[in-house]
């Protein structure tokens, strides 16, 4: 199948939110005349995703990530623009479409609460009409990949948050969807579990070539999994490209850390002094001048140690979010 897995053009979602002031009088007025306010949750977003890509949607809460995902999975109707997933229009909610995608939302339960996960898997098998010959090996492979073999016989309510997330993922992949929408899959989980799930998604993508759209506000998720990241804020795309390019576009500097014999020397003429800790000084330097400054430091000062670092991605992201509009 050639062509993009996901195609989005000028996608828009505008909500009419009722304006509500406090107090009884306003409530009574509200009964007669509704005052509404327009909220542009998604404001003209365009992108395309090729089959097999893992793309991260990064953005603070309320940026429009989840809304976009819901529109791509058919749960919300767009108010403007166009979206196509695997050639289907999501809002039509065709059965064939629903059988080829999956949406996993962090912190949400799709499995039966009081029964072992295995029983819920059977239910999914029946819902998605998965032939037995395909179902059993798929299920067993997923159970093995996520290491939940001893958990699937226990009632879901007895599992911890992280364990529940793992069996949820198994349940959502039984029908071998070609597109995975993962909405904040690692939210609320401890670090080990987060790593586990990330490595699983990477492995799954490697084995089955499924397209993955991942939303998160954890930088670590994106760093671990996504070669390509789309930054969304206030409903618009601020950046769409390789992760490394993010720093280039928004934070064109690097930090140089020097350990000096004499830490009291003023290094102001080399670059912006960020931090001084005894004999260790941290400098911020424009990216293009990094090698030059480093060379000068080594030549002109008695340097015991020198490190050059990329700006931490979290700082870059904060900078990005601080922008109201794309540059």
């Amino acid at each position: 199948m050639t062509g993009a897995a996901v195609h989005v053009a000028e996608l828009e979602k505008v909500f009419d939110v009722p304006e509500r002031e406090g107090g009884l009088r306003a409530a009574a007025k509200g009964l007669v005349r509704r005052r509404t306010r327009e909220v542009r949750a998604v404001d003209g977003v365009s992108f395309g995703i090729e089959p097999g890509e893992i793309v991260g949607f990064l953005g603070p809460n309320g940026a429009g990530k989840t809304t976009t995902l819901k529109m791509l999975s058919g749960l919300l109707y767009p108010t403007g623009g166009e979206a196509r997933v695997l050639g289907h229009v999501p809002s039509k909610r065709e059965k064939a479409f629903l059988r080829r995608i999956t949406l996993v939302m962090g912190n949400r339960n799709q499995l039966q609460w009081d029964l072992p996960a295995l029983d819920s898997f059977e239910l999914n098998r029946a819902i998605y009409r998965i032939p037995r010959e395909a179902f059993v090996p798929t299920r067993d492979e997923l159970i093995e990949l996520l290491e939940v073999g001893d958990l699937v016989r226990k009632p879901v309510r007895q599992l911890s948050l992280g364990e529940r997330m793992k069996v949820e993922i198994v349940g959502s992949l039984l029908h071998q969807p070609q597109v995975l929408f993962l909405d904040e899959p690692t939210i609320g989980l401890d670090v080990t579990m987060q790593k586990r799930i990330r490595s699983f998604v990477a492995e799954y993508n490697r084995r089955h070539g499924a397209t993955v759209l991942l939303t998160s506000h954890y930088m670590a998720d994106v760093q671990a999994l996504c070669k390509r990241v789309i930054v969304i804020h206030h409903g618009s795309i601020l950046f769409d490209g390789p992760l490394a390019g993010l720093a280039d576009q928004f934070a064109a500097w690097k930090t140089i850390g020097v350990a000096l014999e004499n830490g009291q020397i003023d290094l102001g003429r080399y670059g912006e002094v960020l931090h001084r800790d005894g004999d260790w000084v941290t400098l911020r330097v424009p990216k293009a001048e990094t090698s030059l400054v480093a060379a000068r430091l080594l030549a002109e000062q008695s340097v015991l140690d020198l490190t050059i670092e990329e700006p931490p991605i979290e700082d870059v992201i904060e900078l990005v979010f601080a922008q109201e509009r794309a540059p």
Binding site: P51, G52, Y77, R93, L115, P131, G209
Partner: protein, 282 residues
């Protein structure tokens, strides 16, 4: 292995067989889950017998006062009527309109909308499985009530067969109309008032209060054109009363008719409800 991404979607099993498979799997799940809750289920069923027992006593008292029968219905008939009532009442409990509000509010609806299947199927199948548990739990209750109240019950084989089908017909009719009613929750949070009115009309016209022949004539006339009595009075009467073979079979047919009408109403309402939900968001 990445060639799988380009492979055709999974070959599916045939439509009807898959549906049957789904229904059986879901029912089995429901039986497992509800069996875990059997104490709670029992408590609920037990609390429910107060209503019919009170009516039973009132009408048998009147019957006794008037020399054995009220309008041709004997005390034994009333006892049988209200004991069978307890089963039919339980079969009438379905995924009701108030639950829809909860479903929407809790965001559970998203999970259902992602499935390539009408949520109605899941509701019907799950509750059907639950009813199996209910029927099993009901039997000792019925025996106990029979020992206390001495019902007049002597059904013919055809009556038993029709009854066994009619209780499921009642279940389906009630499901269709309650699910349709539940669609109102997509447009208003004040649906409770409408539900109450509906339930009250149902209470009066279905045979839940009294056997229909005891109601004024005009009420019986009106009730004939509404689905309520076919979900309540007919199943009970098929077992307890004296309907002719023709009336029994015709009753099943009318049950089918009402089920289809309810289904049609639901499908239309559901289409509009989903449109509304997807426009406004969950």
């Amino acid at each position: 292995m990445s060639a799988r991404a380009e492979a055709a979607p999974l070959r599916e099993a045939g439509g009807l067989r898959s549906m049957a498979d789904f229904y059986l799997t879901t029912m089995r799940l429901a039986v497992q889950e509800q069996f875990q809750y059997r104490t709670a289920n029992y408590f609920y069923m037990f609390g429910m017998i107060a209503e019919p027992v009170i009516y039973l006593v009132v009408w048998t008292t009147i019957a006794d006062q008037q020399g054995g029968s009220v309008q041709g219905l004997s005390a034994g008939y009333f006892a049988a009527y209200y004991i069978v009532w307890t089963l039919v009442r339980n079969m009438n409990i379905v995924f009701g309109a108030p639950f829809w509000e909860h479903r929407i509010r809790e965001g559970d609806l998203n999970k259902d909308l992602l499935r390539p299947m009408l949520p109605l199927h899941y509701d019907i199948a799950y509750f059907a499985g639950w009813k199996v548990v209910v029927i099993v739990l009901w039997i000792p209750l019925a025996i106990g009530l029979s020992l206390v109240f001495d019902p007049l019950l002597d059904p013919r084989p055809l009556e038993i067969a029709v009854f066994a089908v009619a209780i499921w017909g009642a279940y389906l009719i009630r499901t269709m109309f309650q699910e349709s009613l539940g669609m109102l929750c997509f447009w208003t949070t004040r649906g409770a008032a409408i539900f109450d009115l509906w339930m009250t009309t149902e209470l009066l016209l279905s045979g839940r209060l009294v056997p229909l022949p005891l109601m004024p004539d005009w009420v019986q006339e009106v009730s004939r054109f509404l689905p309520f009595q076919w979900a309540f009075f007919f199943p009970i009467e098929s077992l307890v009363g004296d309907l002719s073979n023709e009336e029994l079979i015709r009753g099943l047919g009318i049950q089918l008719l009402w089920t289809l009408i309810g289904l049609a109403i639901f499908r239309i309402a559901w289409k509009h409800a989903v449109k509304r939900y997807s426009a406004v968001g969950g």
